[in-house]
Every structure is written in C-alpha cells, then in structure tokens.
C-alpha cells in the first residue's frame, strides 16, 4: 500500500518535471524561468532539511485540523440524523454552506485571528470539514432497517446504539471518506500558510514565490507529496486494521 502510493506520486511528480523540461527546452526558456536539472538537484540538497521540517510542521497542523473536523462533523451529523426540525435544519444548512468556496473565507479568519497556529488550524479544519460533514450526515441519517427494527420494536433503541449500528455498518465508507478528506486537510493547511502563517511549508513556498525560485517550489512539492502519501497510507492502514478487528471473530 505504501509503496503503491509512493510509486504513484513519483510517476506524477516525474511526469510534471518532464513536462516542465519539455517546455523549457522546446521554448528555449532561461534558467530563471525554469531552472536546470542541476540547479534543482543543488537546491534539493541545500533545502531538503529545512523544508522537511516545514512539511512536518504543516503535516502536524493538518492532522490536528483533520481530527478537529472529524470530531465536529461526527457531532453535527449525529444531530443531523434526527428527523425533527433540528436535523432538517442542520442538513439543509450543511448542503447550502458546502456549496460556498470556503477558501474565500480564509482572509476573514486571517483578519480576525492574525498569523499563527489558530488561523492555520481553523482554515485547515474548515476546508476538509464540509465534505466530511455531507458524507457523515448521509451515513448517519440512513436507517439500517434490518438491524434497527428489533431495537425499535422492543424499545431498546438509544441514540448511541443507533449511531453505533450505522457507523459499524458503514465503516468502509467512513474510512474512505476520512482518507479522502486527509488530502483536503493538507491543502487547507498550505492555503492557510500562504496567507496567515510564519511557519510551515506553505509559508516557505510563499517566500520562494516572492524570490521567483521555481527550484525551491519543486523541492517543496516533492516533500509535500511524500508527506501526504505517508499520512494517507497511515490512515488507510489504521482504517483497514479497525475494519479487520471489528469484523473478525
């Protein structure tokens, strides 16, 4: 699983680099626009260390933001499964709000909270929250009649049991959605660092952008890809282990 993800990333990354070089040599672009392979290699050697630390910093915030959004989405989806007006209101609000590009709200958060961890965390959590919420609402609102019927009939059904049944029956879907939203958390954190941080790989990319240093950006992208792949593999492994444990005798 890990090797497959890393292979996939390497293929995409190398294809991207190949395309850049094809453009460079076809259009005879200068090293200032697209750096030479030698310059990229040297930049990689000089900046791999500090950029790796910056990626780890970003990854830590992304994981924290992801966890935050999973907890929040679970809590809201548990309320949203209700058939009463509260549930209906939450479902309608979620469907409407998710249609709005949350990235556009990021500057407001920056203005209100300024630079720093809080802004990065909040923006990261918000960007992966709505896709999670919609899936969670769908999963927790869908009755599993074949199992729930007995508990409803015998009046043993509690909200905890209902959530447990629906989560257990949809554990594969939940895992897939959580793994899928992990990339969004990473994207959200980097976006936050572009505008509201003095740390993290997004901040490093912003500086490289001001310096028009494409080599640094390519090195940063390489490390982001590796970091994200490792996080996704970690989540997939945890999800598979959980599913295996729940379904084994």
């Amino acid at each position: 699983m890990l090797l497959r993800r890393i292979y996939q990333f390497f293929i995409i990354y190398l294809l991207g680099i190949a395309l850049l070089f094809a453009l460079k040599y076809t259009l005879r672009l200068s090293d200032y626009v697209i750096p030479s392979p030698d310059e990229i290699w040297r930049t990689g050697r000089d900046y791999a260390g500090p950029y790796l630390l910056a990626v780890l910093n970003t990854l830590a915030v992304a994981i924290l933001g992801h966890l935050l959004s999973i907890c929040l989405a679970t809590a809201v989806a548990v309320l949203g499964r209700l058939t009463a007006w509260v549930g209906s209101f939450i479902r309608t609000a979620a469907y409407n709000i998710q249609a709005y590009p949350i990235v556009a709200v990021a500057p407001i958060i920056f203005i209100l909270l300024g630079d720093g961890l809080a802004s990065r965390l909040l923006i990261a959590a918000m960007i992966c929250y709505f896709p999670l919420l919609l899936s969670f609402i769908g999963i927790f609102s869908e009755p599993v009649s074949d199992i729930e019927h007995f508990y409803e009939s015998t009046r043993r059904m509690t909200w905890r049991l209902q959530v447990k049944i629906r989560a257990f029956e949809n554990i594969h879907k939940l895992t897939t959605v959580i793994v899928g939203s992990a990339t969004m958390a990473m994207v959200g954190t980097i976006v936050a660092e572009f505008i509201a941080a003095t740390a993290g790989i997004g901040y490093s990319i912003r500086i490289a952008l001001y310096q028009s240093d494409l080599a640094k950006i390519l090195v940063a992208l390489f490390l982001i890809g590796i970091g994200t792949s490792l996080y996704l593999v970690g989540l997939e492994r945890a999800g598979n282990a959980l599913q295996k444990r729940l379904k084994s005798i």
């Binding site: 199992i147 019927h149 007995f150 009939s153 015998t154 257990f168």
Partner: protein, 230 residues
C-alpha cells in the same frame, strides 16, 4: 385474547388501486395461526398495521388482551460487533433467561452462538433472529417468512417447539407453503385480491401438536380448502 380487523380500507400513497377494501377478519384465540396468500396481496401490510407501523387506513383494529405485538421477518440481522451469545445476553429480559438455553438447543444453534451473525448460514441467521424475539415479552408474534431459509425438517421441529413452549401466546405465521400451514396452523387466514369478496377467507388447519399425527383426510381437506380459497 382477540384481534379484530373491522372493515379495513387502505391504499398506498401514489398507488393506482386499493390494497384492502372492506376487509374484516378475527383471530379469536391464542395459538399458531397463518396468514396465507399470493405475493403482493397485502399480508405484510396487514401484519404491520397490527403493530402500528402502517397508518392511514380507514376502519378499525380492535384487540383484547394484547399488549405487545412484535413483527419479525427473515431479512433481519444482528449487529456484527459481538457474538450471537453476547447479543442474546444483552437483549433477553431477566425473567426469560431460563428459556435461552432451551431455545438454543431446540433451534439447533448451539454450535454457532459463539460466532458473529454475519458468519452464520442464512438458515442459522433466521433461527437466531427468531430466538431473540421469542425471548421477549410479547402477546402476538408475527413471523413473516421468518424461517424461509431453514430446511423443512428443522422448520417442523421449531414450529412444534414454539407451539409447545408458548401455548398462551398468539403467532401469526406468514408463509407460502400450503402443506406447512395446513399441518401446523390453527386458523389459516387466506388473503385474496381486492377484487374478490370477501377479501379474507378463514380455513381451519389441523393444528398439529408435538408427537401427534394428523388424520390424512383432514390434512388433505384443509389443503384443498386453502388452494380453492386462494
């Protein structure tokens, strides 16, 4: 114990025609009764009306001496997070715990109670599901093809055991097996299409008990009456 369906008229929303038109029937005593009829005639709907799960009909359902009605069907499942025995332990009222082992043995599921539900065969799943309902406090239990995946011999043993263990309760057995309902059921309520009047015909089954052999001519007559009425 008495259950009366009095002049029931019902049509599903967006449906072209009535499902029931002036349907009346009476179950006058506890015992093992059947609800019989072709597919789509409304057996499940009628059963669910009795539990209160289907509303929006005209007429009345009146009961005497009935406090708790359960409806069970053959597609029900137990949650997969623990073994069947653990589920039984969680869902069996304290007063009925003494019956648990007896039912497990009678239903032939001793070997599989340690496993999770999704590891069982469909026949074992049907039996397991029925056991947990039988362990509840009920007056009427509707069994909607609850033993559909169980072989004939085991099904016979189970039905006879249920009849022996719960003579004071009322069972409404929904099945498409003419011979089975004719042999084991007391009152066989044959539900017919809405175009036929009356919509329900009652035939007396042989109500076979454990160890008894039904007179062949009685059984044959009951079967003929069922086929003729349906």
């Amino acid at each position: 114990m008495q259950i009366d369906f009095d002049r029931i008229c019902f049509r599903y929303p967006n449906s072209a025609g009535d499902l029931f038109n002036d349907l009346s029937l009476r179950i006058a005593a506890p015992g093992f009764h059947a609800l019989f009829g072709p597919s789509g005639v409304g057996k499940t709907t009628l059963a669910r009306m009795l539990t209160g799960a289907v509303a929006g009909f005209s007429g009345a359902i009146r009961t005497e001496g009935v406090r708790q009605v359960f409806y069970t069907y053959n597609l029900e499942r137990l949650p997969g997070w623990s073994s069947v025995r653990e589920h039984f332990a969680e869902t069996t009222p304290a007063a009925n715990r003494t019956r648990l082992e007896e039912l497990i043995a009678a239903f032939g599921i001793e070997a599989c109670v340690g496993a999770r539900f999704n590891r069982l065969s469909m026949g074992q799943q049907n039996r397991t599901n029925l056991v947990r309902y039988l362990l509840q406090d009920f007056d009427v239990l509707i069994m909607d093809e609850s033993l559909a995946n169980v072989d004939e011999l085991t099904r016979e043993k189970i039905i006879l055991k249920i009849k022996a263990l719960f003579p004071e309760r009322c069972f409404l057995y929904i099945s498409h097996n003419v011979a089975e309902v004719a042999r084991f059921c007391s009152q066989i309520l044959i539900l017919r299409g809405v175009s036929k009047a009356p919509q329900v015909v009652c035939v007396q089954g042989t109500d076979l008990a454990q160890g008894a052999v039904p007179p062949p001519e009685r059984l044959e007559r009951a079967m003929l009456e069922i086929v003729h009425a349906a």
